[in-house]
Symmetry: C2
Subunit: 287 residues, 2 copies
C-alpha cells in the first residue's frame, strides 16, 4: 500500500474544511475559515459573497487586484500569519497559469489556497546495469523539508516567465546544467494533488520532464539548495518511495509517475489503476 | 478543443442512467433499467436488492455464478438483446482483473456494464526525420469500427491469461511480431473511460505499452483484422486525432496518452491539464 499512501498523503482534503474565494467571479483559491473571517473584518479589499469571500469587485484590473493582495499579505506578515514576503509573484487563476487574474506573493500561496505551478525534472542515465536516476538531497538549512531527497531539478513557476525559460534557469541553479542540455528535456506528464498543509491549502500542479543524461554528466548545485547528488538504481529509488519517507512528499509523486511511464511499476502491480488515476486527479476536488 | 472532444466522447455517462448490479455484495457492473427489469422478471438467478439488482446470493462460488450468467446470456441471445456468444470469458470484478468473482461472455460485457480490460500497443520508430508511429487500418469486414485507424496491436484481455502471454499472442496475431520483440514492449500507462454505448455501459481499462521498433520491422496482420499498416510521422498522427474521426474512438485516447508521454502534446497546450486528468479518471464515476 505504500505507493498509494504517498499519494493519499497529498490528497488529504475533506469537504467543508475551507472557504472558497473569488476574483472577478471566478474561484481562485480556498481559505481557512479563520483567515476568511479575518480578511472580511480587517481588510477593505475583501467582501462576503454567497459562496464565500470575494476580492472587492470594484478592483477590476490586474494591477489593482495585485496591489490589494500585496497589501493584505504585508499585513499578514506583520501579524505572523505569513512567514515572510518572498518577492516572487505567483499567478492567481481559476484555470491555467496563462489566465492569471492577478498575482500573489509565493510565500502566501498556501494561506490563500491558490493553484501553484511548478516544474520537476527526472534526470536519468541508461547504464549497462540498468536505469539510474540522479537524486538530490536537500541542504540541512532549507526552510522546507531540509535533508529530504528531491528530484534532480525542481522549482516553482512564477508569473510571466515561460516554461522553457524557467526550466533552463532552474536546471542551471539547481544542477549546474548547461542550457543546451536543459532544453533537450522532454515534457512527459503533469502530476496534480490537493493537500491540506499547516499553512493552508495546496492544490498544486507539477509539470514533469524527463531528461536522459550522458554518462559523464555530474550535477553540481550552484545555489546552495542541494547538499549532494547521488546516482541511484531505479529499483532502489522505487524502494525508498515505497518503504521510507526520505523523499520530500511531492517528489514521491513525480518519481512514481516516472516509474509508471518507464514500466518499473507496471500493470501487474495490484494498485496500478489507483496509482495512475491518483497521480492525475481532476483539478477541482469536491469540497 | 478537439483532443478533449475525443476524451469526452468516451466519458458521456449521466447520473441515474443505469442500475448497478452486484455479485457477493460487490458492485460489478451497471444495467440499463429495461434489462434490469427483464432479468428480475425472467431469470431466477437475479434478485432485487436495496441498491439495484444482485446475482442470487445463494450462488456463492465462481462456477455457479458463471454458469448462471452463461444461461442468462444464452437467453438474451435468443431474444436478440445480445448479438452472439463469443466464447471468450471476461472477468466480472469490482476491482482488478485478478479479483474476478465469476466470468461473463465478452459479447455481453457492455449489456452488463462490467469493467473490460484490454491491452493496446503503440509501436514507434525513431528516424532521422523524427518519431513515426505504426498505425493499422481495420478491415472493412470487421463487426466493430470497420475501416477505422487503430493502434499497432490492440486486444481484449480474457479471464485467466497473464498480461505478458496475452500481449505476445496479440502481437503475433495482429502484427506478425516475433515473441522476443513483443516481450520487449514496456508498460507505460493505463487509460480509463466510462462510456455509454448502444449496447450498454463500457467502463474500460486499457493498459498501454510502448515498443520502439527496428527500422526494418514491417508489421503483417495474420488474423485478417487489419487491412493495411502505415508508418506515419507523429505530427500527422496527432493531426488525425485532433481534426478527424478516423481513429476507432478508444484508440484516440491511447494515442493521446503516447503524445503526452513523448512530449508531442506538452504543457504549453492550453488544455494540457484537462487532457492528462481526462485520460485517467478514477474508475468509479458518480452515477
Amino acid at each position: 500500500m505504500a505507493f498509494l499512501d504517498r499519494i493519499r498523503a497529498l490528497n488529504n482534503h475533506r469537504p467543508g474544511e475551507f472557504v472558497p474565494w473569488f476574483v472577478g467571479g471566478r474561484r481562485v483559491g480556498r481559505l481557512r475559515p479563520e483567515l476568511a473571517a479575518l480578511l472580511l473584518r480587517n481588510r477593505n479589499a475583501f467582501v462576503a459573497c454567497d459562496a464565500g469571500v470575494a476580492l472587492d469587485p470594484a478592483l477590476a484590473d490586474f494591477a489593482s487586484r495585485s496591489a490589494a493582495l500585496a497589501e493584505a499579505v504585508a499585513a499578514l506578515v506583520v501579524e505572523g500569519r505569513v512567514s515572510h514576503v518572498q518577492g516572487e509573484s505567483y499567478p492567481v487563476t481559476a484555470g491555467g497559469r496563462e489566465e492569471a487574474l492577478c498575482v500573489l506573493d509565493r510565500a502566501a500561496a498556501a494561506q490563500f489556497g491558490i493553484r501553484a505551478f511548478g516544474q520537476h525534472l527526472d534526470g536519468y542515465v541508461r547504464r549497462e546495469d540498468g536505469l539510474h536516476l540522479w537524486i538530490g538531497r536537500r541542504s540541512a538549512d532549507r526552510l522546507h523539508w531540509p535533508g529530504r531527497l528531491d528530484n534532480l531539478v525542481a522549482g516553482g513557476l512564477p508569473h510571466g516567465i515561460t516554461l522553457a525559460d524557467n526550466l533552463v534557469k532552474e536546471c542551471a541553479e539547481e544542477a549546474g546544467m548547461p542550457a543546451d542540455l536543459a532544453r533537450s528535456a522532454r515534457p512527459a506528464s503533469v502530476v496534480t494533488y490537493a493537500q491540506v498543509a499547516a499553512q493552508g491549502f495546496k492544490p498544486d500542479v507539477l509539470y514533469c520532464y524527463d531528461l536522459e543524461l550522458p554518462a559523464d554528466f555530474v550535477p553540481r548545485c550552484t545555489d546552495g539548495e542541494v547538499e549532494a547528488f547521488h546516482l541511484l538504481p531505479v529499483g532502489e529509488v522505487a524502494r525508498r518511495v515505497a518503504d521510507t519517507e526520505e523523499f520530500k512528499p511531492n517528489c514521491n509523486l513525480v518519481v512514481l509517475d516516472f516509474l509508471v511511464r518507464h514500466g518499473v511499476v507496471g500493470p501487474d502491480h495490484p494498485e496500478y489503476l489507483d496509482i495512475v488515476s491518483g497521480l492525475h486527479p481532476a483539478l477541482d476536488p469536491p469540497m
